[in-house]
Assembly symmetry: none
Homo-oligomer: 233 residues x 2
């Protein structure tokens, strides 16, 4: 199962000055990011391979090689978003940084809020491309294509209605966990729904008729008596 909740985005902070790293790390963690550090280009590339972050913040002046080179080396192996963070304000450096493959170029002194906003803007642009792959859920013999709004078993499409599909997708998204009627109501029917929560039962039953091999004794969509329902393999 893929991650469900909003996990913090991870940053790799590359700067040779410990003091700057510390200040930036605190500011960025304050903005809700998970921050890893590297003090030079070599470490940065190693860290990138070991645990790819969502965004790289790259200082231009590094002890081993300059940031342009590091950026090009990063680009040779990865499409990870890179933001150049540097004290050099010269326009030629900006152009060189961007040409080296960076996505953005910001100059010190930094305003944390602005850097954070630029990171968000970049992620906003990049995320959708990554998200496409993560939308095929598998539970038991069911394959749930969230984007295609289709559920297949043995390659055969199951004819679910919209509500049934949303219900199944919610349950699959929290596979193994019990979801109460109220939780399902608010997720599938929306927060503004005030009807009887028994409607969940009805749709659970209809869903079982379609996804369970023996609807009379469900193996996937099981009742958690007094609690709700959950989907298991």
């Amino acid at each position: 199962m893929r991650n469900t909740g909003p996990v913090a985005h991870s940053l790799l902070l590359v700067d040779d000055e410990p003091r700057i790293r510390r200040v930036l790390r605190l500011a960025l963690e304050d903005e809700g990011y998970q921050v890893a550090e590297a003090a030079n280009g070599y470490d940065a590339l190693a860290a990138l391979r070991r645990e790819p972050p969502d965004v790289v913040l790259l200082d231009l002046m590094l002890p081993d090689r300059d940031g342009f080179t590091v950026c090009r080396e990063i680009r040779r192996a990865s499409d990870v978003p890179v933001i150049m963070v540097t004290a050099r304000t010269d326009s030629h450096d900006v152009v060189a940084g961007l040409e080296a493959g960076a996505d953005d170029y910001v100059t010190k002194p930094l305003v944390a809020k602005e850097l954070s906003a630029r990171i968000r803007a970049l992620l906003r642009r990049v995320e959708p491309a990554n998200a496409r792959q993560a939308e095929l859920l598998e539970v038991g013999d069911l394959r749930i294509d969230v984007l295609g709004a289709e559920v297949t078993r043995d390659g055969e499409a199951l004819p679910l209605t919209r509500t049934e599909f949303k219900l199944l997708a919610e349950l699959a998204g929290a596979e193994g966990k019990v979801l109460s009627r109220e939780q399902l109501l608010s997720k599938v029917w929306g927060y503004g729904y005030f009807g009887d929560s028994r409607i969940v039962d009805v749709h659970v039953r209809r869903l079982r008729l379609k996804i369970e091999r023996d609807p009379a004794s469900p193996t996937h969509l099981v009742t958690a008596r007094g609690l709700g329902y959950r989907l298991v393999s």
Copy 2:
């Protein structure tokens, strides 16, 4: 440096000052871009709808409404890259601009080379997503030549109209995924179309008459009831 692609990238330049527009246009055309202009937010939105550019350059201070608002309005229906171009250097404005949905924020006075580099960096990030369309798509027995605007089946060209083709191309570009009427409206009919979304149904039907072997029971262009349509093999 001229851009490499076969077709120049198009920019929409939104600024109320004719003098600035002229300077920027010349500089950007020199960089190899094809530049359209708008003097206010209203014209910008109209131009965007009429002929979506690859990138929008948006000044913050416009006569009718401020750039933040215009940016948000753009974002409501379009993913087009937006670069804020303004004289306001305050960090709060940068954050506000990016939060309004802009991809980048650059301040005047401008260095054309830097602006151009930022445009390229942004396009580099965005293009791959669009690149899917710039190819030859195959769905089932249909071969869709997006650039040539031609669809063939068994080597035989199908006589699709422009709207039918755009509709088919959009669906093929997201093969297997359900596209809602609203998504199709904004992509095929363009940003800001306010007509009845039922028009999609009509064109789907006309498309089916041409691409389906048995239009009464479609196998390729299938209905996702309550959700939209999708194209499958």
